[in-house]
Structures are given as structure tokens and as C-alpha cells.
């Protein structure tokens, strides 16, 4: 039995230590906002936060998430930065199919929490591993910039 704190709530999950956090979240905790895309940390669709840092949940054993705060897309609105990112995503109409966008938003939120006003190069560095087959990248870049601007205004 593994105890996880997901979006501030405790979950007791009967899963093996080595099960990737992704499947524990999706299949066992039934939080399906976190998506499966590749299984080997090559696409970023499964991105969640561990103690505020972006990780690929598809290659993170669930045991590594014990005693840490897991934040998923379902909980990111409670974070001021995450909420701004979501708002910027809506304002710019970023999503097309939307499937990868949970991971994109989690990646962008982690970036802005650490680097509130990222340069273009920092945006690319943080986000280049988050694939989007619909090709929404230019709006993703703009939305991150807008969320950063909103953050500066509120700071």
C-alpha cells in the first residue's frame, strides 16, 4: 500500500512500488487528466509536478512520489501560476485536440514557478520535450509569455 498526496488529498493505493506514477494516477486513483503518450519520457503528455517540479509520470515509479506533493492538471488551478497559465491558454485558444495540453500546462506552470519571466531560450529548453501533434507550439509560446506578463502585473 502506497500513500500519495495528490492535489492536497491523501490517497491509499494498492499498487506495486515500481508501477509508474502515470498508471497509478490514471488506473487506480482515476485521475485521468494526466495522459499517456509514449511511456518512455519522450512526449511530455504525462507531465505532473512533484513538489512543484515537472516530472514525466510515465517513468516515475510511484514509490518515488511518496512523501512528496503530487500535483496534476486537476489540481493546478489552485496554484496562482497554474491558474494564470490555464487562463492564458484559453485566451489564446491554444488547444486543438487538447490531448497533450495537460502536460503542456503542467510544464509551463513548473517553468513559470521557477522562472517567472523566462526568455525564449528558457521556454524552449523547458518545453521542447512536450510534443503536440496538432502543432500548437506558437500559441503555447505566446500563452507562456502572456501568463508571465500577467504574473508580473500581479507581482
Amino acid at each position: 500500500m502506497i500513500t500519495l498526496t495528490i492535489n492536497g488529498q491523501q490517497h491509499e493505493l494498492d499498487v506495486p512500488d515500481q508501477m509508474p506514477l502515470l498508471w497509478a494516477l490514471r488506473d487506480v486513483a482515476r485521475l485521468t487528466g494526466t495522459k499517456f503518450g509514449c511511456g518512455i519520457a519522450q512526449c511530455g503528455a504525462c507531465t505532473v509536478h512533484l513538489d512543484g517540479e515537472a516530472v514525466r509520470s510515465c517513468v516515475t515509479p510511484v514509490s518515488q512520489a511518496q512523501d512528496r506533493d503530487v500535483t496534476t492538471i486537476e489540481g493546478i488551478a489552485d496554484d496562482a501560476v497554474g491558474s494564470r497559465v490555464q487562463q492564458a491558454w484559453l485566451e489564446l485558444g491554444v488547444a486543438q485536440c487538447g490531448y497533450c495540453q495537460s502536460g503542456q500546462i503542467m510544464g509551463a506552470s513548473a517553468l513559470l514557478k521557477q522562472t517567472p519571466s523566462p526568455s525564449d531560450a528558457q521556454i524552449v529548453e523547458a518545453m521542447d520535450g512536450n510534443l503536440c501533434r496538432c502543432g500548437t507550439y506558437s500559441r503555447i509560446r505566446q500563452a507562456i509569455q502572456r501568463a508571465a506578463e500577467h504574473g508580473e502585473q500581479q507581482a
Binding site: V15, P16, M19, P20, W23, R26, D27, V28, R30, L31, T32, G33, T34, K35, F36, G37, C38, G39, I40, Q42, C43, A45, T72, I73, E74, A77, Q86, W89, L90, E91, L92, G93, A95, Q96, C97, G98, Y99, C100, Q101, S102, I105, I123, V124, M127, D128, G129, N130, L131, C132, R133, C134, G135, T136, Y137, S138, R139, I140, R141
Partner: protein, 772 residues
């Protein structure tokens, strides 16, 4: 006003209790449907020519509840093109509904009721705009009539405002909800009595809704909060999670399996053999061995533990299929004459007499659609009735497939279409759904979710056809084109459904090859043989991709050989603005559209070239190592031109400064989503040009995951993508949007690379060809 089709009829289905549940309470349900053609009308086009496109059943619905909530049923698959928003905008606008009180309901797969649902061919808005408008207008007029009767006033004193009917002389108002019950008792107005709103009265249609604060994407909030439901997000109690080991070569079959280690994996419940169908594979499962478990992770581990022997002999020469050898064979075959598709003048004489003669061979590899959501489906059986939840572009094919597989009537199969996490053609083939229904049946109806991994998706896609295109041209002393010979070779999608025809079909050749719009005195288009060794399927824009790549690259090569400006030369190849009847250039397909309504419009091709080049400041000199590239293409009843501004450094690294995309699809219903489709096409096309390749070695696909099958990333994204939408002309019939932006992207980028470096790319992807 847009010309409306004469065969559109309307019926009030709430009176007929057609839709159980939907038409409950005092709700008004209005349906538009296509009338069947009479026997003497031989040829049909557009929506009428689609399966179930015109049968006597409703295909779009509007419901108004007594609380005033307007529900619009969307019958097309949503895969990022925004159709759930766009079709609702159309109906809501004609109705006069307040966007804040409008919601969408997703139709199940049921073409008998809704009309054609095969979301493919960039057809959704093209085929559904008129019916949806008329459904909205008819509902509005019924509400007006209900108000007139309640107030006992002439109907022409009653007019829809925003979500209300207003008695104009007195200013009295009744809300839509207050009128819904009475309106639902009224007969649907005669078709010729409908008044469609004039363009200047539209509040949503044609509005750039993100900027103007009109409708935002209907699923936007669900997406950014993780609440949106895709294929793998539906949960049923007692469901099992399945992962399947499939034959590594197309046509191979299971010889033997040792599942003892798999069954020892904690959480694994069962191992079940799935029969395969061999070749042609159609939409059927490939077969193999399924591991069913209590969660996805256990199923994946269980599959890894299977020990399987495959029978490769039954795959025939597919087990020898290797991409380099196949490419060589096609290039060799391209040097010989093939089946003649179109001929004008004497091309041999024209080439022989030419002052200058050019020849080039272009190659585009297989690709996988690779939506970030891999195929996934959940199925269960209850009382011999099947129910499926899946991200599916073609729910009718899924429904028919499940019914046939299980031997149950069509009406006992329910296909619930979830949101698609990308489609790009992959999810028009329901093989993954038939795997789930097979396994559920094997478990006496227990719910089973089949999850494809990324490796499954890349190894067992319905691949974009590999292509070789060989072009020859003869120029006179001034560089003017005298002769053009184009041979195109690709395996055909028809190989999926019948013994391999080894030739492209008319609809495949019609994608930019047969109707090449150049005005050259002597032309011959030929299609030599090519055989299929993997499953070939639709990929966004399909055969337009290799045809546009070859034709638009070669036109640039001709301009260079002639010492002419590429844009000027391309305009000269196209000739003066005029309309070409597709039948006059042997194109019998024309995307299924009426050749009289949808001619090939050279003026519109010229128009997008002029707009894109003007926006990119085509004439401005660029520094060394930097260049502009142009390409244009007509497909899916729309016209697109792209100009890239590219820089290539000494290491061969490509930096894309900007893309200018000029796009003409005629009337722009949801310009914001048209723009995003163009942006997405630009990115996908960059991937096709620079990175994406699927290859086979001895019949096995060599790319396992995204580290090997490269798709574009943020770092490949142009600094600026500028989309220029032109020709929003209500007199023009609607064109497609989802696909036509893609074909010109790769050739425009390769032409820009040539302008920057002098290096001509004839083999895609560019990969490391620019290095050193």
C-alpha cells in the same frame, strides 16, 4: 447568399418522437435531412454522394429546453479542428441563441439517423453548413410562430432577438425556453419559406471569436482543467485493461505462444489469442496475443513476458520488405513508362525539341499519423448488445465492423465517440475497436479497454504511402516550359480492401497529380506499378503530400534552370486566371464535389501566391545563408500558398524565421479555427520536410517511439507564423480546412532551403542532408 442545395428537407422530429431521450419534455427538436435522390438523378456530389449523406433520416438536431438551454447535436468527430464549436456557432447564429446558453451534445455513431459521420476529407463544415443553418432558421421561425399565436398577432410582427422573440410593435418579449413547448407542436416551415439571416446579421459565424470575445472553443475549459474525456478516460466497473502483441510483419500470424511468465505477472488476469485476418487487412484486427490485466501497467509487463513465435511465411514477400531496396525499385520503375492518366500534345517531341531538359526524382517515405493519443477503445456486451467508447473518426465503420464481428444487428451496437486526442487519418480505421469488442465477447461481455502503446502505434499504423515521383520538363530558349512528364508511384490504399491493384486509384491520383494546374503545351502523366507491403491508409492530406512536394519542388527547379524568379515563373506556369473543369483534365473525382460548382480556379491559385509573397516581402534581398521559398497547392476545394523565410548555418542547422500562409477556402465560418488549422498544418509540414520517416527492415518497422520517429517540437517552430485568410466570398461554395494547408508546406520549406544554400532536397525528410 450561399446557394442552398435543393434536396434539403426539414422535419420536426420531436413530433415523431424520433429521438428517445433527446426529445423528452416539451423540447423542440428540429432536424435537417437530405432527401434521397430520385432515380433519374444519376450523379450526385458532395454530401449527397456520401454514404447515408442523403438518406431520409435527420442528421443535425437542435433542442430547446423549457429553461431556455439550447442543445446542438454535433455528429462529426472532434479531433482538434474545432467542429464541436463551429457547427454549434452556425446553428446558434441562425437560431438567434445566446452563446452562454448553448451547449453541445455528441451524437453516437448512427448514420441512419444523423447522416454521414465519416470525419475525413475536410468535409465537416463543407457538407454541414447549409443543413445546420437551415435547421437553426427553421427553429427560429417556429419560435416566432409560437410567439405570434400566444400574443395573437401577425407573425411578421414577431422577430427573434438574442434568445428571445420580440413583438416589434409593442416591445414585448418571450424567451426561447418559454416558447419551446408550443413551438415543438408546430409543423416545420416549408423549405422555401425559410429566411436565412443576411451576413451582416451574423453574430458568431465569420467572427474571429478569440479576439472579439464571441464564442471560445466549446471544450476549452474542460481541456485546460483535465476534465475533457478522450478514449482512455472512460471507466467501467469490472473492466480489464488489455495490451496486445501483434504480428511484426503485415500478414504474419501467430505460430505459438508461451504465456506462463505473463500469467505470473501480478495483476495479469488472462491471456487470449486474437485471430488475425491476413491480407488484405481492411479495418480488421491484425491478430496476436492479448494480455488482460487489472491495470495498464500489469498488462504491459505481461505482454513483455510473452514468448511468441510468429509464422512469417504466411506474410509472403512482406517479410522481405525493406525501405532502401523498395525505394530503389520504385526509382527504377519510374524510368519506364506507366499507365497513362492524362495526356496533352506530344510530350516526347516537346522534350526532344527542348533547348533545355530537366529531370528529377523525388522521394517521400512512409509516415505514421502518430496522434499523441494512441488508439484506444473500451467495449462491453450486455444482453447481446455491444457498447463502445472510443476516439473514432468513422463511427459508422466501427458500428458495422462490430455488428459483423459479433453477428448482432447494427442497432444493437452503440458507438460513443469521445473526443479524439488527434486523428490525422489513423482513427478512421476501427481495427483497435474491433480488438476490444472481440476481447469483451471472449470474456462474456466483461468490459475491456484495449490500450495501444506508442510502439504499437508506430509499428502497426496504417501508414502514409511511400512515394516516388519522377518529373521531366523541356524548356525553350527563354526558359518557357514546352513539355512536362510526371510519373508517380505509390502503393494504393485500395490494397487494404482487395487484392493489391498495384496502381493508385482515381481518388488518389486526383489529389494534386491528375489535375496539375499548369498550362504547358505538352504533358503526359503516368502511373507505373507499385505494390503494398504494409497497411496503407489515409494520412492528413493523403497523396497530395508527395504530389505537391514533387510538383512544387520541380517548378522551382525549372524556374532556376530558366534563370527566372520563382514566383513569376510559377504564375506563368499556371497561366491567366480562369476556371478549369476537372473533367477536362481527366480528374473524375474532384474531392467528391460537383465540377460545375467546384472548378479548379487558377485565379484563386494566383491569388494565394500573390498574397503570401507580398506578405513575405518576396522582392526584398536576403543576406547570404538565408532565403525565401514558395509553394502553392489546390486540394479539398481550397487553395493554399506558403512562403518560408529560412536560414541555414554552416552546420546545416535550419532556422525558420517566418512562415506566411495565404489560404482561400471561400467563406470563413470560424476564422479563428481556420487560422489554427493553418498553424498546425505549418508545423506538421515542417516535420514532414525535416524529420519524420517510417522505414521497414525485413517487413518490420524500425521506429519504436518518438526518439526515432521524430515529429516537430517547439524548437522547430517558426519565430512567426502569419496566416492570411482571403476571399471570404459568400458566392463561393465552401472549401475544406483541415487538410489543404498541409501539402504546400514541405515543398515551400525545401525551396527556401535551396534559396538559402543552393542545395536541392529531393528526398524527404531532410534529416542530415544539409550537414557538412
Amino acid at each position: 447568399m450561399t446557394t442552398l442545395n435543393n434536396t434539403l428537407l426539414l422535419a420536426n422530429v420531436s413530433r415523431r418522437h424520433f429521438l428517445k431521450g433527446l426529445a423528452a419534455g416539451g423540447a423542440l427538436v428540429i432536424a435537417a435531412r437530405w432527401a434521397p435522390l430520385s432515380a433519374d438523378e444519376q450523379t450526385s456530389y458532395g454530401a449527397e454522394a456520401m454514404p447515408h449523406g442523403w438518406v431520409d433520416d435527420p442528421n443535425v438536431f437542435i433542442r430547446i429546453d423549457e429553461d431556455g438551454t439550447v442543445s446542438v447535436v454535433n455528429h462529426r468527430a472532434e479531433m482538434g479542428q474545432g467542429i464541436r464549436t463551429s457547427l454549434v456557432m452556425v446553428a446558434a447564429d441562425e437560431l438567434g441563441a445566446d452563446w452562454q446558453r448553448v451547449r453541445v451534445e455528441q451524437a453516437p455513431g448512427d448514420e441512419q439517423t444523423y447522416g454521414n459521420q465519416n470525419t475525413d476529407g475536410s468535409r465537416s463544415m463543407r457538407h454541414s453548413f447549409d443543413p445546420m443553418r437551415r435547421a437553426g432558421a427553421a427553429a427560429r421561425q417556429m419560435l416566432e410562430q409560437a410567439a405570434a399565436e400566444q400574443w395573437e398577432v401577425p407573425i411578421d410582427e414577431c422577430q427573434a432577438g438574442v434568445h428571445v422573440i420580440v413583438h416589434t410593435p409593442s416591445g414585448r418579449e418571450l424567451g426561447f425556453g418559454e416558447l419551446a413547448a408550443a413551438a415543438s407542436q408546430l409543423a416545420v416551415p416549408e423549405r422555401d419559406s425559410l429566411t436565412l439571416k443576411p451576413r451582416d446579421a451574423w453574430r458568431y459565424i465569420g467572427r474571429d471569436n478569440v479576439r472579439d470575445d464571441a464564442p471560445l472553443a466549446i471544450d476549452g475549459e474542460d481541456i485546460v482543467t483535465g476534465r475533457a474525456h478522450y478514449g482512455a478516460d472512460v471507466h467501467l466497473d469490472d473492466m480489464l485493461y488489455a495490451v496486445i502483441a501483434r504480428p511484426p510483419v503485415y500478414g504474419a500470424q501467430l505460430a505459438s505462444v508461451d504465456d506462463s511468465a505473463a500469467l505470473d505477472v501480478p495483476g495479469v488476469v488472462r491471456v487470449i489469442k486474437v485471430p488475425g485476418t491476413g491480407q488484405p487487412g481492411g479495418f480488421a484486427p491484425l491478430g496476436g496475443v492479448a494480455v488482460l490485466a487489472e491495470n495498464t501497467w500489469a498488462a504491459i509487463q505481461g505482454r513483455d513476458a510473452l514468448e511468441i513465435e510468429w509464422d512469417l511465411d504466411v506474410a509472403g514477400d512482406n517479410a522481405d520488405y525493406s525501405s532502401p531496396a523498395y525505394r530503389e525499385a520504385l526509382e527504377q520503375a519510374a524510368t519506364e513508362a506507366g499507365r497513362v492518366i492524362r495526356e496533352r500534345g506530344d510530350v516526347d517531341a516537346a522534350l526532344d525539341d527542348a533547348e533545355q531538359r530537366l529531370e528529377a526524382t523525388y522521394y517521400m517515405p512512409h509516415m505514421a499519423q502518430a496522434p499523441i493519443e494512441p488508439p484506444v477503445a473500451l467495449a462491453r456486451l450486455v444482453d447481446d448488445k455491444a457498447e463502445v467508447w472510443a476516439p473514432v473518426q468513422h463511427p459508422q465503420a466501427a458500428r458495422e465492423g462490430v455488428a459483423e464481428q459479433l453477428g448482432i444487428p447494427l442497432e444493437d451496437v452503440t458507438i460513443n465517440a469521445t473526443l479524439l486526442g488527434g486523428g490525422f487519418g489513423r482513427k478512421s480505421k476501427p481495427d483497435f475497436i474491433l480488438e476490444a469488442s472481440y476481447l469483451s465477447q471472449a470474456l462474456d461481455g466483461r468490459p475491456v479497454r484495449v490500450q495501444w502503446t506508442r510502439e504499437d502505434d508506430l509499428h502497426h499504423a496504417y501508414f502514409h504511402a511511400v512515394s516516388v515521383d519522377r518529373l521531366e520538363a523541356g524548356l525553350d530558349g527563354e526558359g518557357k516550359a514546352l513539355g512536362w512528364r510526371h510519373r508517380t508511384l505509390s502503393p494504393s490504399i485500395a490494397s487494404l480492401f482487395a487484392p493489391d491493384p498495384e496502381h493508385k486509384q482515381d481518388f488518389e491520383l486526383g489529389m494534386g497529380f491528375t489535375p496539375v494546374p499548369f498550362d504547358i503545351p505538352a504533358m503526359r502523366l503516368e502511373n507505373p506499378d507499385a505494390s503494398a507491403h504494409v497497411r496503407i491508409g489515409w494520412f492528413r492530406a493523403v497523396y497530395n503530400l508527395p504530389h505537391a512536394f514533387a510538383i512544387q519542388s520541380f517548378a522551382a527547379e525549372m524556374a532556376d534552370a530558366a534563370g527566372r524568379d520563382h514566383r513569376d515563373y510559377l504564375l506563368e506556369l499556371l497561366g491567366p486566371a480562369r476556371q478549369i473543369d476537372p473533367r477536362d483534365v481527366n480528374d473524375t473525382w474532384n474531392y467528391g464535389e460537383d465540377p460545375d460548382r467546384y472548378p479548379i480556379d487558377i485565379g484563386r491559385l494566383r491569388g494565394v501566391i500573390e498574397r503570401a509573397t507580398e506578405a513575405a516581402e518576396w522582392q526584398r534581398e536576403r543576406p547570404a545563408g538565408r532565403g525565401l521559398g514558395l509553394a502553392v497547392h489546390h486540394s479539398f476545394a481550397a487553395y493554399a500558398a506558403v512562403v518560408f523565410d529560412v536560414e541555414v548555418n554552416d552546420d546545416g542547422d535550419v532556422t525558420i524565421h517566418s512562415a506566411d500562409i495565404a489560404f482561400d477556402c471561400g467563406p470563413q465560418i470560424n476564422p479563428e479555427r481556420i487560422r489554427s488549422q493553418m498553424e498546425g498544418s505549418c508545423i506538421m509540414g515542417i516535420g514532414i520536410a525535416l524529420h519524420s520517416e517510417i522505414s521497414a527492415d525485413q517487413g518490420r518497422i524500425e521506429q519504436d517511439n518518438f526518439h526515432q520517429f521524430q515529429i516537430p517540437r517547439l524548437s522547430h517552430t517558426p519565430r512567426e507564423i502569419r496566416v492570411h485568410l482571403i476571399n471570404d466570398d459568400p458566392e463561393i461554395p465552401l472549401g475544406g480546412v483541415g487538410e489543404p494547408g498541409l501539402p504546400p508546406v514541405a515543398p515551400a520549406l525545401c525551396n527556401a532551403i535551396f534559396a538559402a544554400t543552393g542545395k536541392r532536397i529531393r528526398r524527404l525528410p531532410v534529416g542530415d542532408q544539409l550537414a557538412g
